[in-house]
Structures are given as C-alpha cells and as structure tokens.
C-alpha cells in the first residue's frame, strides 16, 4: 500500500504549463471521441496523439509501472471473457463471416470477432495514457478550480478538492490503525480463515470510519465558522489564467471529437468501421 500512486511532481514542460481547465476539457473530448467511435483507425490515431503527449509530459516509467500491469491483466481477462460469452458477436455486428479456425460449432475464430475484440482492446487501452497525463500533471488544488471554471457548482468542486486533500491522510490513518491492531495479535494474512479475516478487517475499518466521522464534524465546523458557502461565487488561490497554448490545445481536442463523430456519421454511417463489405 503506497500513497505514491499519484504523486504530483512539478516539471517544466508544455503539458505541465497548460491550465487544469484545458487538460480537463482535452481529457473529456478525447475520451468521448474514443468512447463514441468503434473505428479502429480513429482510435489508433487518438492513441498515437495521447502517446505523443505522454512523451512530451516527461512522466517516468516507474511512476506508472503498477498501473500498466493492472490494465494489462484487466484487458486480458475482458478479452477472454468476451470470447467465452459471445464468440460470434463480431459476426452479428459486421454481418459477414470469415472463418479462420474452428474448435466446434459455437467456438470459431472469425476475422470479424478478431476485429471487434482488438478494437475494443485498443479502445480501452488508448484512454489510459490520457487519464495518466491528466491525473499526474494536474495540481490537485488547481483541479477543483478548473472544475468550477467549466461550470460545476463550487461546493461540489470543493468536495472533490477535500477528497484529494484527505486521501493521503486517510491512507496514513489506515496504516496506523492496521499496524496497531496487528501488534495486538490481529491476523490479516492468509493463514487465518476467510470469515475471521473479514471480521479482522472490520476491526480496522470501524475505528477508521468513526475517526473520519469525528473529523467531518471538526472540519465542517471550522468551515462554517469561516463563513464557507455564504456567497454564490468564490475565487480560487490556485487557478491559472488561460494562455494562447491553452486555446490551441482545446481547439485540437474539439477538432478530434468533431472529426471522430463526423467520420462515424458521414463515412462509416454507423459507430462501427466495417471493412468486410
């Protein structure tokens, strides 16, 4: 358990200089264009674009190694499960059937299924660098300011910034309680039976939750005393002004989104790209 998972380390390059709003808008636009389109060409171009930005942002491999492993495991499981549950779904979507290999009448490998599953794989994989860039290059306190800028209610934005602020604290709390309970003989390892282990986990969670409830009381009183929520608007300490590079980045992202919708509507005439007809 490491809170190092999302360390924000400031760096001096283009991606870090962009404001939080810009990165949020770009993230939403690019993610939606990938989510909407089922055209492998569109998805691959977004993937290449996001990989270029990833390179520019100068993030290091060791920062993301763990995530990439999780993603690969997840994608492989999804790949296999899809084939087991619906081996002919690709045929249904594309309307043709090119068989490559036959196990039995239900399980055959077809070109259509391969295209469908590979498209789906790239669809999930291509948004990963985007999410990583957004998460690791945006200052957490600026994020709330950005959310407020694009129209989210500032109270909700403030809730988000509280989450980011107290997440590392809670992890530390959890570790402290867990170590204290273990030193009193609470066993969390695999040696204990599952039922007992669940009960032992609860012995850690209950103090954690109750101390959090106390803390909620404390913080909300402090905020009330300082007059939080009295006015309709508020200003942010960490918000950045938009510069020229921000507008260019937003334009590119919007262009990609519109482009991917246009390709689906006018060229493919459906969300799927069909090379078989």
């Amino acid at each position: 358990m490491k809170s190092k998972l999302f360390d924000y380390v400031e760096r001096d390059n283009l991606v870090f200089h962009l404001s939080g709003v810009t990165k949020l808008i770009c993230f939403i636009c690019l993610t939606f264009s990938v989510m909407f389109s089922y055209d492998i060409r569109v998805i691959l171009s977004v993937m290449i674009l996001s990989l270029i930005f990833f390179k520019v942002s100068g993030l290091e491999w060791k920062q993301i190694k763990l995530m990439v492993i999780y993603v690969i495991v997840f994608l492989l499981i999804n790949f296999v499960l899809t084939f087991i549950f619906s081996p002919q779904y690709g045929v249904e979507i594309y309307g043709t059937k090119h068989e490559i290999y036959r196990f039995n009448s239900r399980y055959t490998i077809t070109l259509e299924q391969l295209l469908y599953q590979i498209t789906k794989l790239t669809k999930y994989a291509s948004v990963v660098p985007l999410g990583l860039i957004f998460l690791l290059t945006t200052n957490p306190s600026e994020l709330a300011a950005s959310m407020n800028r694009i129209g989210l209610n500032y109270k909700a934005a403030y809730a988000l910034s509280l989450t980011l602020r107290y997440f590392p604290d809670l992890i530390r709390n959890y570790q402290d309680i867990s170590l204290a309970q273990q030193s009193r003989g609470l066993d969390l390892s695999k040696k204990e039976k599952l039922g007992v282990r669940i009960k032992n986990i609860m012995n850690i969670c209950v103090p954690l939750i109750f101390s959090t409830l106390d803390r909620i009381e404390l913080i909300s009183n402090a905020m009330d005393l300082r007059g939080f929520g009295k006015h309709k608007k508020r200003t942010w300490y960490a918000s950045k002004r938009l510069k020229r590079q921000d507008y260019i980045a937003i334009l590119i992202a919007v262009f990609v989104l519109v482009g991917s919708i246009c390709i689906s509507v006018f060229i493919n005439r459906s969300r799927f790209y069909n090379p078989f007809i």
């Binding site: 809730a159 989450t163 107290y166 909620i216």
Partner: protein, 185 residues
Amino acid sequence: MKKLFEFKTKTIVATGLGAALFTLLFMYVKVPTGIPGTDIQTAYGIGGFFAALFGPIAGGLIAFIGHALSDSIQYGSAWWSWVIASGLTCFLTGLIYPKLKVEEGEFSVKSAIFFNVYQIIANAISWIIIAPILDIVIYAEPANLVFTQGVVAAISNAVSVGIIGTLLLTLYSKTRSKKGSLTKE
C-alpha cells in the same frame, strides 16, 4: 425536519472525506468472489452508510467520485458505465435519509429493514438495469456478458451494504446519545 436534497457545509465535507474513504476501501479492502472484476467491495457498505447518514446527494457523489478516482489511480482511466451505476446506487439508497434518525441514537429493527429494502432495490436497479445498458451503449459489450456481471455485482454489493452498512449504522447509533435521554431527579 430533514430535507432530502439539502447541501450544507457538513454535507460537502462528508462528501469529500467519504469519497476519500470510499476510494481507499475500494482499492485495498475487498473480498474476492471468483469472478473477475466483481469482488465483494466493502466500499459499498461505507457508501450506503454515508448515504443513510448524509442524504442522497452526498451518497451519490461519494460513490461517483470515489469509484472514478480509484479507477483512475489503478487503471489510468475510469470505466464510466460502472462509475455512473455506483453513484446511482448510493444516490437511491440515500433516499431513505429523511426517514432515519441515526444521529439521534435511534436505529430500530424496523429502520434496519427499511434501509435494506431501499438498498436492495437501489442495487437491483443500478447493476441489473443501468450498468449493463450503459456498457452496451458506451462500450458495445456483448449483452449476455454484461448482464451476468451485473447480476453478480448486484448480489455482492447488496450483501456488502446489507452486512457492513447495517452493522455500521447500528454501531453508530449506539455512540450517539438519545434525544430526551436525560431525566430530572
């Protein structure tokens, strides 16, 4: 009287810290069921608990932010269909909020049954109907796969809220002093 959709400072703070707690439990504290991607999440128990204590808006936001954040930290990007379903579950569970008086130390068997009826309906709607439909619309997943996953998720989450949520509410009600519990000698 408690209003259903109030959003005072305490709700905001509860949302913020609750979401952090949800993220933490979602990532580290889960019980495997054997089917990939659908462990019994202790986090939903906490989500239900917070929803019952602070209302539907806090509950919905806690699950939405918590799920999105933990997905982003673990996988780099959120699985939106399930994030939305998570938010919806806790939002619907939170609709019971005006009926409960847990912070006044009252949590009877009747309120426990009410709470569980609400959460089971909430889980059924979100995981068996909404999540699979969103999966099909957004990601074009095959229907039988997502409905199977949805049913498993609904059951395991309802179990989690039913056991952990109810337990926490009972414990919490015992730590609060009852209204009018002082007597004059």
